[in-house]
Subunit: 591 residues, 2 copies
Amino acid sequence: MPTLRIALAQVNPTVGDIPGNAASIRRWSREAADAGAHLVAFPEMMLTGYPIEDLVFRNSFVAASQHALRTLAADLAADGLGDLAVVVGYVDADGPPATSAEAVPGTGRRDASALLHGGEVVATYFKHHLPNYGVFDEDRYFEPGIELTVVRLDGVDVALTVCEDIWQAGGPFTAARRAGAGLVVNINASPYELNKDDVRLPLVQRRAAEAGATVAYVNAVGGQDELVFDGDSMIVSPDGVLLTRAGQFTEGLLVHDLDLPVADTVPNAEGSTDAAAPAFEESRDDHMPVKRAIIDTKLAALTDKRTGGIADRIADEAEIWSALVLGLRDYVNKNRFQSVIFGLSGGIDSAVVAAIAVDALGPERVVGVSLPSGYSSEHSKDDAADLAKRTGLDYRVQPIQPMVDSFLANMSLSGLAVENLQARVRGVILMALSNQEGHLVLTTGNKSELAVGYSTLYGDSVGGFNPLKDVPKSMVWQLARWRNTQGNPPIPENSITKAPSAELRPGQRDSDSLPDYSVLDPIIKGYVDHDLGRAELIAAGNDPALVDRVFRMIDIAEYKRRQAAPGTKISGKAFGRDRRLPITNSFREGL
Amino acid sequence: MPTLRIALAQVNPTVGDIPGNAASIRRWSREAADAGAHLVAFPEMMLTGYPIEDLVFRNSFVAASQHALRTLAADLAADGLGDLAVVVGYVDADGPPATSAEAVPGTGRRDASALLHGGEVVATYFKHHLPNYGVFDEDRYFEPGIELTVVRLDGVDVALTVCEDIWQAGGPFTAARRAGAGLVVNINASPYELNKDDVRLPLVQRRAAEAGATVAYVNAVGGQDELVFDGDSMIVSPDGVLLTRAGQFTEGLLVHDLDLPVADTVPNAEGSTDAAAPAFEESRDDHMPVKRAIIDTKLAALTDKRTGGIADRIADEAEIWSALVLGLRDYVNKNRFQSVIFGLSGGIDSAVVAAIAVDALGPERVVGVSLPSGYSSEHSKDDAADLAKRTGLDYRVQPIQPMVDSFLANMSLSGLAVENLQARVRGVILMALSNQEGHLVLTTGNKSELAVGYSTLYGDSVGGFNPLKDVPKSMVWQLARWRNTQGNPPIPENSITKAPSAELRPGQRDSDSLPDYSVLDPIIKGYVDHDLGRAELIAAGNDPALVDRVFRMIDIAEYKRRQAAPGTKISGKAFGRDRRLPITNSFREGL
């Protein structure tokens, strides 16, 4: 059996930055070659970033991707890396490759994988299974591929697949078995969800059995707008043994040696049948034809044995915290902001946002502004100052009462309008500082209060990025406690233990308006995230009157958003696609 | 040949309001019966409204739709309308019909059409072609149907189809030919685009030829969030003659008598082949099996002859104006707002919004607020007052300088931060009035200034609905001039002819910062709406330096939105799905 040294490049592309992504591929390919690798695999759409969304409809962008792929192959060879097999994701389209700005790449766009070697694009594969659920819209953007691609590398047959191909039975993995592939390379841009790593391993194991081949799974890492990719790259043997696995949320090369079978001398273009194949679901996809390419070069002999090891799994809080930190860092850096600014109230939400921001960017890039009104308590100001001291962020105090008073003196306002006015004056101040000094404004509202509308439109909702928008209040506290156990505790104990208050009128408490978060959050999760109805939530043990009350709050919050904020939707799941809640004047569950 | 009196109910459902939509069906069915109709057809998803988006994932909602359909059939019979064949769109799902809150309708949701008669659901059909482009996401929401449904009504074979089925060759219309259908009923929720009516007629003619049958096309009318449905219902004979056609943007019944062929006595469940069938594109869909139902009742004899007539087409400006008025009216009414409020500057944008709002809601439901600063010109205040007098809207004046000064006295601001501050103080005032008095805030920025970022986030962008968000500035002027020719001119001539200015600093003019709108708007259209690249726009005759300048402005505007407004995307086309523009720090055309 030949031994192949595989490097999985768990790295961080940027959507749209083709030159930057190409440079990253060359840099990591150099590292892989230095580590003695024969083949290095990069994530799905590495060259363009993922998700490119409507950029795919721009012919000039697709042409740029096609052109960059050919240039990359040549550049790698010029770098002295022509002997390294480089598997890389990019966007392709039907029709002749575009060689000038006038050429039209064609209408059938493809989520593609290419194998580069010897200065050439040796083979390409088009993703077969296109996901169109959750955060994915690929039926809108791509045509599915209908052929499997197998590249013979010094006698070993390597099949190319992309992401969703591994999430569905049938298609490329069963085709890989019939084609006799020894290794299936599966390149991914698989977004983080809580505990998704628990799902991935069994899935890769199942497909490895289906293909009867070793599966090398490489995932991107990094934040891209509302998505975070967590890595978790791995290699699994045909009999389901986890051979090596990378950690989550960190860039790096996972280098591992694999003993792989030599392929039949004369490959059958139709694939061979394997009587010993286990019975998997039959699918009309199962008979994908096979495209083959052969690389004759002899692999360099290995003088040592490399194993990638198996990274430990981390606790839920560590997973979520890492995702929030990485998501914020990459949003700020990929959009080239120098610094962030937000209101620091002394409450738990802004305290956790501050801790995330400092972990993501360092204290010198973080500005926290205390914006006290006449209703702000002493402990709020003290707790904000305490957090600033613990973290070292740039702390400022800007009282809002003079501005609030100028509105009150010139208009006739009362009740909620006065409460909201205070939050909006804070928003105007933060935006003025953003315009004056260039900071990105962060929003600090948690998912629970956003869902039930316990927030002011154009007030606390002001900001370009909200680290907590998908974090329920109960989890905000849990994260704060967990973070304080990791080295120097950034969050004042008082911010964690005191009763939450918006401090927009004297003595106000969240509990005046909201049920306890421990009973509120499960109902929000059921109604918003899981589309459960009234009967289902009551059957799950929630109090009927409370279910009705929370449904009404969520429904009215959706109204309020319609009143003054087009496009402001709350998200159904962590790092997920924004969802439209029901238009609830009409359809209310049991009301 | 039997004569069938068909009524096409071009009516206005509300998403989620199943009881209200069912009541509307009963009301219009009564009118159809009173007009002597044998069959009345309602739009796609009439019972649930369209588009229901993520509501489809809520099992309780799908169950409510299924239940309401059966109740509707019984209610129609109880209303004495059992003899009327009623074709109605609804949402269905695989599995047994849900009869209680515990039942799970199953996972395969369907965009369905049913024919109700004699108190029963006689037949159902599931939409075959699912659109997944532009404003449509149906691959995400529905499973495609694979059978054609034909109902024999007193000897005439009537095939049921839904919307997109008519936009694609193959499938139900060719199946209808083989099944020997005499009439194809196509129910629609087809959103308005400029000149879409010019596309629909040839399309219906082509499908009528394909089916060898008369086609009755009924479309919804009304606004639903970001979509407007324009009606334009029609009937076309097998040889392509337009028999009758409704107007756009108005509710009503289109009643027309059709002489239709008697079907073969013994229908073939597989359909019969027709040697005379024209050669259309072959498609794997062409062999849809046929489900048949038979209604034996004898049709009531007709004592007169009814024709629906052919409504005149209207000018482009009238089309757009009607769409804007209907879109605003339905957004306000379906969301149950009593009134709207917005800043009335004396400029052309807010003047046109005021005229649209008054046309949509009447002057008593419209509040215009003049918000002058120290930089506001006398003519601005005069023009705003003049418009208020012409239209009769509720006019108020609220100077902003005291509030602006309170910020300037307490913060160190300069340049753009001061300009934006003024716009944001205006936003705070409008929101305070909204909170205090309950109005919906309207935004008044046109598409050109939104695209190039000539606007203040959380300032002029404040509002729940923006009638002009998809209207380029050139068209704003064109609409103003057109509207002033229709009866009493609402818009002061000076608002139309004066040079546009934001009036945020002394002597400011749009032309200080922007190219002339006559050259700007075509570049925006090319880059944003049509995904054209630099080379394509230059080849189309645009000045290269100007293309570069406008690309840069649009790219930077997208940045600004990222800085402070998550989810604020500009729209690619009129009443279309919001689009994500490229992340333009990385991919810039030719820069």
